[in-house]
C-alpha cells in the first residue's frame, strides 16, 4: 500500500539525485577542465540527462525493470504505458511513478560520470551516440542483474546504492574510452591545472549533499535504514577527505582543496554499495580505505597505465565502487551494521563474482560500443577544435565574456 511518508522522502531523494548531475557533477567537472571547455562538459551533462530520460521513457526502464528475465528485462512497458497513476511499486510503499523517476536519475548520472574520461577532446555527436548505446548495453543489463531481479541479485550480490551498477561500470568504461580515444594533446607533460578550483569545491559539495538522496534514498523508504545510511555516507565522506588531505599534506607539504574534495568523492563512491549495511564505525573504515586506495589508483592510472582518464573516473569512481563492494561484508559486522544473510566469506565471494562479471561486461561491451561509434562518426575532436576549445568549436559560444 502506498505510504505518503516514504513517498515524501523519495520525491526529495529524486530531486537530490537529479541535482547531482545537473548542476553538481557538471560544475565539478567544469572547474577541473580548462576555461575553453567549460561549456562542453556542462552541456554534456545536460545532454546526457535529456537523452537518458527519453530513452528511459521509450524502453530502457522496461528493459531494466520489467519481466523476470535473469539477464535482461522485457519490453512490455514501452513508453511507460503500464505506469498507472496510482500503481505502487512492488516490494515498496511508493508510487511506481516515483520509482521510475528515482531510478532514472541513477541512469542519468552513470553515463554522465564518464564525461570525466573523455573531457576536452570528444566530439559532441560521439558523446551522444556513445552515451545512448552505453546506457542500453552496459548500464541497463548491469542494473537488471543486480537490482531488477537478474541473476546476480538472485545469487545474493549486494549493492545498496550502486557501487557496482553505477561506479564500477562507469569507471571501467572510462578507462576503455580514454584508451581508445587517446590522450589530450598536452598529456601528460603540458596539461593545464583545473581552471576554477572554487567551482570544483562547489560542485563537490553539492555532490556530497546530493549523495544523501542517492544513498539514503536507496532505502526506497523513510525510516531507520535511510537514517543510518545517511549518517554512514556522511562519515565515510569525511573520513576519506581527511585521509586524502593527510596524504597530500605529508607528501607535498600543502593539502589542496581539489585534492580534499576528490577524497570526498572517493569516499562517497566507496561507501555507496555498503551504505545501507554499515554503521558509523564501518563507514569510517570504508572512508579511510576509499581515500587511501583511490589516491593510489589515480596515480597508477595516470603514471602507471599512462591513460588520460582526464578527470579520474576510474581511479575515483571505479576503484572506490569496487573496493566498497568487496569489503562490504567485513565492515557490515561492525556496530550499527545490518544483519547479513550469509557468512562473511561467502558474501565476499559473491561480491567478488559480481564485481568481476560486471567489470568484464563493462570493459568488453564498452570497447565494442566505442569501436562502433568511432566507425559511425569521428570520436575525436579535430586538432583545431581541441586547441580552440570545444565550447566554441561545437557550441559556438564561450563560457566567459568578462568585458561588458
Amino acid at each position: 500500500m502506498l505510504n505518503a511518508a516514504d513517498t515524501a522522502w523519495m520525491l526529495t531523494a529524486s530531486v537530490l539525485v537529479l541535482m547531482m548531475t545537473m548542476p553538481a557533477l557538471g560544475f565539478f567537472y567544469a572547474g577541473l577542465v580548462q576555461a575553453k571547455n567549460i561549456l562542453s562538459v556542462l552541456f554534456q551533462c545536460v545532454a546526457i540527462a535529456v537523452l537518458v530520460s527519453l530513452l528511459w521513457f521509450v524502453f530502457v526502464y522496461s528493459e531494466t525493470f520489467s519481466g523476470s528475465g535473469a539477464y535482461i528485462g522485457d519490453l512490455s512497458n514501452l513508453f511507460l504505458t503500464d505506469v498507472a497513476r496510482d500503481a505502487v511499486h512492488p516490494g515498496t510503499r511508493i508510487p511506481e511513478s516515483v520509482f521510475v523517476m528515482y531510478q532514472m536519475t541513477f541512469a542519468i548520472i552513470t553515463p554522465a560520470l564518464i564525461v570525466g574520461a573523455y573531457a576536452e577532446r570528444m566530439r559532441f555527436s560521439a558523446v551522444l551516440l556513445l552515451s545512448g548505446l552505453w546506457l542500453v548495453a552496459v548500464y541497463a543489463p548491469a542494473a537488471h542483474w543486480i537490482w531488477g531481479g537478474g541473476f546476480l541479485q538472485a545469487a545474493g550480490a549486494l549493492d545498496f546504492a550502486g557501487g557496482i551498477v553505477v561506479h564500477l561500470t562507469a569507471g571501467i568504461s572510462a578507462l576503455v574510452i580514454a584508451r581508445v580515444l587517446g590522450p589530450r594533446r598536452e598529456f601528460p607533460h603540458a596539461i593545464n591545472p583545473p581552471h576554477a578550483p572554487w567551482m570544483v569545491m562547489v560542485g563537490a559539495s553539492l555532490l556530497w549533499v546530493g549523495w544523501f538522496g542517492f544513498n539514503a534514498g536507496s532505502a526506497l523508504a523513510s525510516g531507520a535504514d535511510a537514517g543510518m545510511t545517511m549518517l554512514s555516507t556522511h562519515l565515510a565522506a569525511a573520513a576519506a577527505t581527511a585521509t586524502w588531505v593527510a596524504i597530500e599534506w605529508t607528501k607535498y607539504g600543502k593539502p589542496s582543496l581539489v585534492g580534499a574534495v576528490t577524497g570526498a568523492v572517493a569516499g562517497l563512491a566507496t561507501v555507496t554499495p555498503a551504505s545501507g549495511f554499515v554503521g558509523p564505525i564501518g563507514a569510517v573504515v570504508l572512508g579511510i580505505a576509499g581515500g587511501a586506495v583511490c589516491y593510489v589508483a589515480v596515480l597508477v592510472v595516470k603514471r602507471g597505465f599512462k591513460v588520460d582518464d582526464a578527470l579520474d573516473v576510474l581511479g575515483v569512481h571505479g576503484v572506490g565502487g569496487a573496493l566498497g563492494s568487496l569489503i562490504l561484508p567485513f565492515v557490515a559486522i561492525l556496530p550499527g551494521g545490518a544483519v547479513m544473510a550469509r557468512p562473511i566469506f561467502v558474501q565476499f565471494l559473491i561480491q567478488g563474482k559480481a564485481v568481476l562479471i560486471v567489470g568484464l561486461w563493462s570493459a568488453v561491451v564498452c570497447f565494442v560500443i566505442v569501436k562502433l561509434v568511432s566507425w559511425l562518426c569521428d570520436l575525436r575532436a579535430t586538432a583545431d577544435a581541441e586547441i580552440q576549445g570545444l565550447d566554441f568549436s561545437y557550441h559556438g559560444e564561450s563560457g566567459y565574456h568578462a568585458e561588458s
Binding site: 601528460p188 596539461i191 593545464n192 591545472p193 583545473p194 597530500e248 607535498y252 600543502k254 589542496s256 581539489v258 585534492g259 576528490t262 589516491y295 589515480v298 596515480l299 595516470k302 603514471r303 579520474d312 581511479g315
Partner: protein, 112 residues
C-alpha cells in the same frame, strides 16, 4: 617624454605605487599580464599530478614621465619591486613623441 614600462610581481604593486608617489609621480596604468622568463613557473599539484604554470602572473605598469624624471622613475620602480628573487621583473624605457590629456587637450609634459 619617456614611457616607462615595468613588469613586476603582482604583490609588489602597492610598494611600487608608494615609491612612485613619494617622488611625486602620481599617474600610471596597470594591466594584468603573464610572464615567461627564467623564473620557473609555480607548481600546482592536483590529484598527484604536478602542473607547471609556465606563464606566471605579473603586472605590467606603464608610466609616462618627462625626460628628466625617467631615471628617477626607474629607480623608484626598482626599489618598490625588488624582492631579490628571480622573477622580480624588468623595466623598459621608450621614447614618447607626444602626449595628450583627453579631458583638457593639454599636450606634452602638461598632459602627464
Amino acid at each position: 617624454m619617456k614611457l616607462v614600462i615595468a613588469v613586476i610581481q603582482t604583490h609588489r604593486l602597492d610598494s611600487v605605487r608608494e615609491a612612485l608617489t613619494s617622488i611625486g609621480i602620481g599617474g600610471m596604468t596597470v594591466t594584468e599580464a603573464r610572464g615567461y622568463g627564467r623564473q620557473k613557473g609555480q607548481k600546482e599539484i592536483y590529484r598527484g599530478a604536478e602542473y607547471t604554470i609556465s606563464f606566471i602572473p605579473k603586472l605590467r605598469i606603464e608610466i609616462a614621465v618627462p625626460d628628466e624624471r625617467a631615471d628617477d622613475a626607474v629607480a623608484a620602480i626598482r626599489q618598490g619591486a625588488l624582492t631579490g628573487k628571480i622573477g622580480d621583473g624588468k623595466i623598459f624605457v621608450t621614447e614618447l613623441t607626444g602626449a595628450m590629456r583627453v579631458r583638457t587637450g593639454e599636450t606634452g609634459n602638461d598632459a602627464l
